[in-house]
């Protein structure tokens, strides 16, 4: 044996390391499965047609969660309306127009740090700026704008990464054929980068749908008797509905099943949204071969 080197011992160590890695991966999977199982197990009893299509009644003990479902959909969609154009625009500027230099580095650093800001801080910011400052009140509009800002860093960073990964040679080829810069980006670079950019949007959408604190501060109604008919209405949402049922009121215990039912719907919604986006992305990626 040379210098204590033993192929067998090395094999064993390798095997151990592999096992450890596998275990960690499985633990993560098992925790996820347990959580899903727990929520489904406690929540499915609440799920029925009325639960999905009716307004809550009798202090949340009866009726359904329709306004919360719709509210969450509105908020998620609205936040994308805010963050996709801003985020994609910023990403295109940073990758394709801005001259590399300190300013661009600072912007990029700012975007990265923005992603690490706790969501309640965004909530307070939204409260100060949109709710009070612009006088939008606690409303769908304020909520969408706040969530839009909250998701902006994710959207921007993912879009930038996707644009950066698009070969420079595509841009060169288009320019050499007489395209101007914007044509090259719109007709060649963007279609190629879109799958990657959508990934960021998927993550952001899931985050927007699940956020609680910013919505409580800027948009949420504990209960609203009608669906919002304007951007200036308060809205209910799934996460805040869970929060309210679980922390307020006289019937916390009696609504437990509905809390889990609502959580189940929220989870299904987020997973469903991701699924749709993943399918779109997979379709786009199949066309890509570079």
């Amino acid at each position: 044996m040379l210098l204590g080197y033993s192929p067998k011992a090395r094999k064993n160590r390798e095997w151990l390391a592999l096992l450890a890695l596998k275990l960690v991966a499985y633990v993560a999977l098992i925790i996820l499965a347990l959580m899903i199982f727990y929520i489904v197990f406690h929540g499915f009893k609440a799920i029925n047609f009325d639960f999905l299509t009716k307004f809550p009644s009798d202090f949340m003990r009866k009726g359904g969660i329709l306004p919360a479902i719709l509210g969450t959909l509105y908020l998620a969609a609205g936040s994308m309306v805010v963050s996709l154009p801003l985020g994609f625009g910023a990403a295109i500027y940073l990758t394709d127009y801005a001259k590399p230099g300190p300013l661009v580095s600072i912007i990029r650093l700012g975007v990265a740090n923005l992603a690490a800001v706790p969501s309640v801080v965004f909530g307070l910011f939204g409260l100060a700026l949109f709710v009070v400052g612009f006088g939008f009140g606690r409303s769908l509009l304020s909520g969408c704008l706040t969530l839009g800002l909250l998701t902006l860093p994710t959207v921007t960073a993912a879009a930038e990464e996707a644009l950066r990964q698009t070969p420079q040679s595509f841009r060169e080829a288009a320019l050499a054929l007489g395209a101007n810069r914007w044509q090259a980006i719109r007709q060649v670079v963007l279609p190629a980068a879109l799958p990657g950019m959508l990934t960021g949007a998927i993550l952001a959408l899931g985050r927007a749908a699940g956020e609680t604190a910013p919505i409580i501060l800027t948009a949420a109604a504990a209960f609203s008797p009608a669906l919002p008919d304007s951007l200036f209405n308060e809205v209910m949402s799934l996460p805040t509905h869970i929060f309210n049922m679980a922390t307020n009121g006289a019937f916390i215990e009696q609504t437990r099943v509905r809390q889990f039912g609502t959580a189940l719907v929220l989870m299904a919604l987020v997973l469903g949204l991701s699924l749709v986006a993943i399918v779109i992305r997979a379709k786009l990626i199949r066309r890509r071969k570079w």
Binding site: A174, A176, Q187
Partner: protein, 251 residues
């Protein structure tokens, strides 16, 4: 009667920021002929080539002095329109770079930019360009397939066809066969030789320059050392630096 040159470069110097990449280049490129640019890596061949269709416009901090005359107009003059120039002066790059689109859409990209919309007109352009690039028979049944499904040599000929679709007067080629195998290289060379265009081709392959070009220019450290008919340059170079390079003593 002597034809006017396709391109004349007059005292062209070019800088990337502080770094001078080209020094006082004077060069007349003959019309309807093939001109090869050779020289060691980093000597400025690609830089010079990109100047001819203003592809260096996008490099921040780049600066040019001198004139490049194409078709009687200084392409860096105040009235020159870079987009117009790039349509007249096509370019094929070192690595095949088709767009992630169908073969058909690749070829149509340029014509569509200038507003050709009619299907019948586009069909005609595609057929003509692919035939000109000697690719029509290979791909006529799969025009709607992604260009990425073709071999490297076919991809490069798609790129040639894409450039030809704009019916350029001049074609610039930057080491167009360096990413290709010998058979694909032969096909591209064959195409170059039979084409009736004015072609400027950068190559590291001396045999290639000898095989296909009428005139050869030897660049060294940003300077044009010698420019002569290809046969003359390779058999009796005037400059010792040229001789050293073509006999492989440096480079």
């Amino acid at each position: 009667m002597v034809k006017p040159p396709a391109i004349s470069a007059r005292s062209v110097s070019f800088y990337y920021g502080e770094f001078q990449a080209l020094r006082d280049i004077n060069l007349e490129i003959a019309k309807d002929e093939i001109t090869a640019l050779i020289g060691p890596s980093g000597c400025g061949k690609s830089t010079f080539l990109k100047l001819l269709n203003r592809m260096n416009d996008f490099v921040p901090g780049a600066r040019l002095s001198g004139e490049i005359i194409i078709g009687g107009v200084n392409v860096y003059g105040p009235q020159a329109d870079p987009v117009e120039i790039r349509r007249k002066v096509g370019m094929v790059f070192q690595k095949p770079n088709p767009f992630p689109k169908s073969i058909y859409d690749n070829i149509c990209y340029g014509p569509r930019l200038v507003g050709v919309k009619k299907k019948s007109a586009l069909d005609e352009v595609v057929e003509k360009a692919l035939k000109a690039a000697a690719l029509w028979d290979d791909v006529k049944d799969k025009l709607n397939k992604s260009a990425f499904e073709l071999s490297g040599g076919q991809q490069q000929r798609v790129c040639i066809a894409r450039a030809l679709a704009l019916e350029p007067d001049i074609l610039l080629m930057d080491e167009p066969t360096s990413a290709l195998d010998p058979i694909a290289t032969a096909k591209v060379e064959e195409w170059i030789k039979q084409s009736k265009l004015s072609i400027v081709i950068v190559t590291h392959n001396m045999q290639q320059a000898a095989r296909i070009s009428h005139g050869t220019a030897f660049f060294y450290m940003g300077e044009l050392i010698e420019f002569a008919p290809t046969l003359t340059l390779f058999t009796s170079p005037k400059e010792s630096r040229t001789e050293n390079y073509i006999t492989g003593r440096f480079g």
